[in-house]
Amino acid sequence: MQRSFYRVLLTSGLTVVAALAVVAVLGAGTRPAAAQAPEAGPFAPRALYGAACASCHGTDGRGNPRIDTPVLAGLSAAYLERQLDSFRRGYRGRHPEDLEGLEMRPMVEGFAAADLAAVGAWLASLPVPQPAGDAATTGAEGQGGDPARGRTLYAACAVCHGRSGEGNDALGAPRLAGQASWYTLRQLRKFMDGIRGSHPDDTSGASMRASVAGLAPRDAADIVAWIEMLPVN
């Protein structure tokens, strides 16, 4: 149902846009980065993202802490596809205490797997957003962890997620560098508390959950404080 709804939104929008086209006259050197040529095909992933995802996840997957949405741009296609599929199949966003996951799950339930994969691949092709001057609002402040201690603890995480937090598709580990700190910490706590990774079908989530079972809350804050310092490259 959702899929057809968004497609209806897209198709019925065409005539409106054509009729009301606004001519853009841009000053030299100040062209907004988002102003690019339209993509080919009526249902390009970018359009699906715009219709179904952008309200919450922000422009081109940059995330929005005010809506509790993570950075999506630059995550690997395989990871994004697997997470979207796990929401779609209902083994992520099912736990009653996973409040954000519960909001996310109905967004993708009606999508075809191929569409989700295409959106994931498009997001993966985007550059990881640099933490901009608005770091105060991306959650990079105020988590209160000790990065020096976190660096030591992170050694265990680096086995899968990479020394620089670059991620490793072969091991199913997502990129961590560049992710909003508040999100990383919240997900880490969800794994520790069994709110994420406890569904029997969520095999990669289960291995993550097992990996963090021995962590104390303070450890999580320290690890995230270290991850926050990893450069985005």
Partner: protein, 524 residues
């Protein structure tokens, strides 16, 4: 009075010196005439040779009013609206209308009749909201009286009166009677402030007798104000037995809702547009609709030295850009944070400061106007349950069917609980809670439709929650422009959730643009 000049004498003297315009100005200053010919109007200076292009983000009430005024002054506007419809949260649902809730789309399936509509956003207008009422006049939007406070409606609380509803008037009368008796019997020289002399004390007793409908011995023994238990027409009226005051206190009603009708914005009489609140949106669209682009979702805002550039996605994901001299932005502040932008950090921190309210409204079509059988014509019943309120339509009286508002959870706790439900679960919750007030509710109502504003596409929250701290630290930042970019909307007002707040925020920005243009015109 000897030696003092009367106001009449003063006006005559002013008129002799400066003509009638001076009299008018002087009389206004003396408070004898309203400040404008009609309250609530904005008078922008005509653009003349300095016509400007303004990009307005959001075709809600703030954006539409701003565009209307800018055009009237001779400026050019482009209005970008992310949704498939104009109006923003001024949303009236009728048969076939889509509720664009994220992940839970609904379609309203009321019967197709003029009185069967649901104002899912703003739904009532106080007489003091002069600018909004000015537009109703200007845009030929007929108004009718809206019934808000109704003493015949019900007060329900699971913790009081055995969980059965009692009439609002009974609660109010007994509570005031008890209070009046308590105070009247304690009016004694040593019990009250010594400044009250014997005469004052006697008058205070009389005041309290009148206030609480006490008998001559200053006792409250029930009142006809509560409505008779029986009789009162062809046989003598029999008063209702007095409720136990501690039981009145068991109901949460006294904490806030008992005093609802005392609020300046909620007191009778109130108004509503005939046929739905979005008649005001329709009126604006008739004037500025050709400048509105729907399904135009802003993706980027870039401040420049001499203007603002806004990139937006059309329905196919194609990105266009518009460059303007000014930008009036009514997007919810919490969504601006998710855009690509070059806004200064302090401004972004301010955009992040206010909270997202989780207001929920839900309505049913009733196949029988059962509330009229209960002597209720319009108004609100109150309950301590999550639905909080049931509204009865003041229009379409005796017409058979009607749309009854089955829930209006405006506090965040009940709002969040209802928001987290599926639309079907919300309907069931509203039925189960409503039938505690109207036992046959389920038999009479159906076709429920709910609007959980926290989950509505392109909105994601209503109303704006300004904590005292956020207000103190960040409101002024957002009320001021950054470069040529202005935040507007009810969110940038001390009246979030009200259309008047939206309009006044737009006026605040437009007056500043007017000033800048005037200064630039003088300089140039």
């Amino acid at each position: 009075m000897e030696g003092r000049i009367s106001r009449r004498q003063l006006l005559n003297a002013v008129g002799a010196a400066g003509g009638s315009a001076a009299v008018h100005a002087a009389a206004t200053a003396l408070g004898l005439l309203p400040a404008a010919a009609r309250a609530g109007q904005l008078d922008l200076r005509p653009a003349g040779g300095r016509a400007r292009h303004v990009v307005v983000i959001g075709a809600g009430i703030a954006g539409l009013a701003a565009a209307y005024e800018l055009r009237r002054a001779g400026h050019r506007c482009t209005i970008l609206e992310a949704s498939h419809r104009p109006g923003g949260r001024s949303l009236t649902l009728r048969r076939g209308d889509v509720v664009d809730e994220l992940g839970a789309r609904q379609v309203c399936d009321f019967d197709d009749q003029p009185h069967l509509y649901f104002n899912a956003g703003p739904a009532r207008i106080p007489g003091s909201h002069a600018s909004l009422l000015h537009y109703c006049r200007e845009l030929d939007v007929p108004l009718e009286v809206f019934v808000n406070d109704n003493r015949n409606a019900w007060v329900h609380d699971d913790a009081a009166f055995g969980g059965r509803p009692i009439r609002n008037r009974e609660y109010m009368t007994d509570a005031r009677g008890f209070l009046a008796e308590l105070l009247a019997k304690s009016v004694a020289p040593d019990a009250l402030d010594a400044r009250l002399d014997a005469d004052d004390r006697e008058r205070l007793r009389e005041f309290l007798r009148a206030y609480g409908d006490l008998d001559a011995s200053l006792a409250y023994s029930g009142s006809e104000r509560a409505g008779y238990a029986s009789g009162g027409m062809t046989s003598p009226g029999v008063k209702k037995p007095v409720r136990d005051f501690s039981e009145l206190l068991d109901a949460n009603f006294w904490r806030e809702y008992m005093h609802w009708g005392e609020l300046a914005d909620q007191a009778a009489p109130m108004l509503q547009p005939v046929g739905g609140m979005d008649r005001i949106v329709d009126g604006f669209m008739r004037r500025v609709g050709d400048a509105v682009e729907l399904r135009a979702a802003v993706r980027e805002i870039r401040l420049g030295e001499t203007g603002v550039e806004v990139a937006y996605a059309g329905a196919r994901g194609e990105v266009r850009a518009v460059r303007a001299d000014y930008c009036l932005n009514s997007m919810p502040a919490h969504l601006v944070v998710g855009l690509r932008h070059n806004l200064p950090p302090r401004y972004v921190r301010a955009l992040s400061a206010p909270g997202r309210g989780s207001l929920v409204k839900l309505a049913f079509q009733a196949q029988r106007r059962f509330w009229e059988d209960e002597q209720i014509y319009g108004g609100i019943s109150w309950t301590n349950q999550d639905i909080t309120q049931i509204w009865y339509p003041p229009h379409g009286i005796h017409s058979g069917t009607g749309v009854v508002l089955g829930a209006y959870a405006f506090d965040d706790e009940p709002g969040t609980r209802l928001t987290r439900m599926s639309p079907a679960e919300r309907i069931e919750a509203a039925l189960a809670q409503g039938e505690k007030i109207h036992p046959d509710y389920r038999r009479h109502v159906g076709r429920g439709v709910s609007v959980a504003w926290y989950r509505m596409n392109h909105v994601l929250g209503c109303s704006t929650r300004w904590s005292d701290e956020a207000m103190r630290d960040h409101f002024a930042t957002l009320q001021s422009p950054t470069g040529r970019h202005y935040m507007v909307g009810d969110q940038i007002s001390h009246h979030p959730g009200w259309q008047e707040g939206a309009i006044q925020s737009a006026y605040h920005a437009l007056r500043d643009i007017d000033r800048r243009e005037r200064e630039a015109g003088v300089a140039g």
